[in-house]
Amino acid sequence: MLQSTNGERNGGPILAVHDVSYRYGARRALDHVSFELMPGRFTALLGPNGAGKTTLFSLITRLFDTREGRIEIAGLDLKANGSRALSPLGVVFQQPTLDLDLTVRQNLAYFAALRGLSPTEGRERMMRALDALAMSERIDERVRALNGGHRRRVEIARALLHEPRVLLLDEPTVGLDVSARASIVAHAHRLAAEEDVALFWATHLIDEIAPEDDLIVLDRGCIRAQGRAAEVMRSHGAANIGEVFALLTEGSAECELNL
């Protein structure tokens, strides 16, 4: 069990979810979910539609209140510390959240202001983030004029403006073509490897996960398996992640962790 505050200082997890459950009325959305995210690691949250991925994201981002269990970000309890604990978090939501009528620059400047960055600092970081995603030339275009892949890149650039330690991406490649998907997945892996960011990537697409990534399989609100993707495959005698996914999500609705 993670010790509050000290764990993160000693190079421990940057985000820890302890025994979290959530219900929509009588329907169970998450059932005693626990896991940890490490800095510099790409962690894939793999689950079919309805698995509870978005609910989990909503709890981590404090959009929903955590009623059962505990979530710690960089050692701070989310419930006890409120919005302050969200500082190290960058989020790319599943639904588009950019303002279509504003330009890329205006969207990013708004977010920079929300994060308390000065206009100069905001401009510098904006250019850096957009450069890294090859979007700086589109800075003065309205978001409405951009295609889906480019909008996603802008959302990722926006989520990185305040230099987060944890980046949550909720199915960020949904609706994108193959090349746009590949480019965003590659960039996310680079961020984890080079910027020491803990990447948390929710998806139902198995080809977005590499064997060296950390993997959490979520199904019907339960964690079915977690560990290094290659190890999860090996322990289940599977040749690829698709096989593991099929094995783990076709079983009973009861929560059983198959490590």
Binding site: T54, L63, L76, L114
Partner: protein, 282 residues
């Protein structure tokens, strides 16, 4: 597993400084104004409604309705002059309801998520967002007053300035009421419902179109309804402020209602609300 140590917790969690609050507030208001000015059709649509009332409805009733001298007026006024404060408040009522509903319902859920994941207290973010809506309504009201002036409806020059604080308070009160309604009443699923059940009754059962004494002459019951209508006090606060006066009773009522509505709206606001009634997401 590759693990790098990260900086101390205190570095990661810079609490919101005063500068952070100020920048975030400015950013929220700036974005709302920017959106408003870039959607020109929204600007014109917001002006058409009060202008139709002023130039068609009021023109028709000008001869039919006689108004005695009542405070804050010091002389006889024409009907179109009388309804200007009510129409200014109507602009705020529509804007407040529309803006608040969009905060709670899905239409703006995307951008609200970005706002609500900002590491600042939720109450501050919601109040800032409400104020941003009020800033938009101020632009609309002043544009309306300028057009009215251009067509001969003159108000005391200082009134254009003294009405500003009144408009801010009334705009916040009406916006908070909209947010409270949207957060708590499940049946109000769209703006048409709000128009029929909230906006129109509030507007008509107030002193916006007729002075209260005239209403009492014809229907004591309606008079009492108007007296309990928060919109009446918003209209009267604006009316007096336009003539450089403070209607203390209206100010106390609006300030009190603002406190109650805002407190309840912030308390009742739940980002999961809209989702809870719908089919749960993944």
């Amino acid at each position: 597993m590759r693990v790098k140590s990260v900086s101390l917790t205190t570095d990661l969690h810079r609490p919101g400084s005063r500068g952070h609050y100020a920048r975030a507030f400015r950013g929220i208001v700036w974005r709302e104004l920017l959106r408003f000015f870039q959607q020109r059709e929204r600007f014109f649509a917001a002006l058409v409604r009060p202008l139709v009332w002023l130039f068609i409805f009021a023109a028709g009733f000008r001869a039919a309705l006689g108004l005695s001298i009542i405070p804050p007026y010091e002389t006889y006024i024409t009907y179109d002059v009388y309804i200007v404060p009510g129409l200014a408040a109507m602009i705020q009522l529509f804007n407040g309801m529309q803006s608040s509903l969009s905060m709670v319902y899905d239409r703006e859920m995307g951008s609200m998520r970005v706002l609500l994941t900002t590491p600042l207290p939720r109450a501050f973010l919601l109040v800032s967002r409400l104020f941003a809506g009020v800033a938009v309504s101020l632009v609309q009201v002043y544009a309306f007053l300028v057009i009215a002036y251009a067509f001969g409806i003159e108000l005391p020059p200082m009134g254009y300035l003294t009405v500003l604080p009144a408009l801010i308070v009334t705009g916040m009160m009406l916006g908070a009421l909209g947010m409270l309604l949207a957060s708590t009443i499940r049946q109000l699923e769209n703006f048409a419902g709000v128009m029929n059940f909230v906006i129109f009754p509030m507007f008509f059962a107030s002193s916006a179109l007729y002075p209260l004494w005239k209403i009492r002459e014809n229907s004591p019951t309606l008079y009492h309804v108007c007296q309990w209508n928060p919109f009446t006090y918003a209209v009267e606060l604006i009316r007096f402020a336009l003539y450089g006066e403070v209607n203390l009773f209206a100010l106390a009522a609006v300030a009190g209602l603002l406190t109650v509505f805002l407190g309840a709206a912030v308390w009742a606001f739940d980002p999961a609300w809209g989702i809870r009634w719908r089919k749960p997401q993944a």
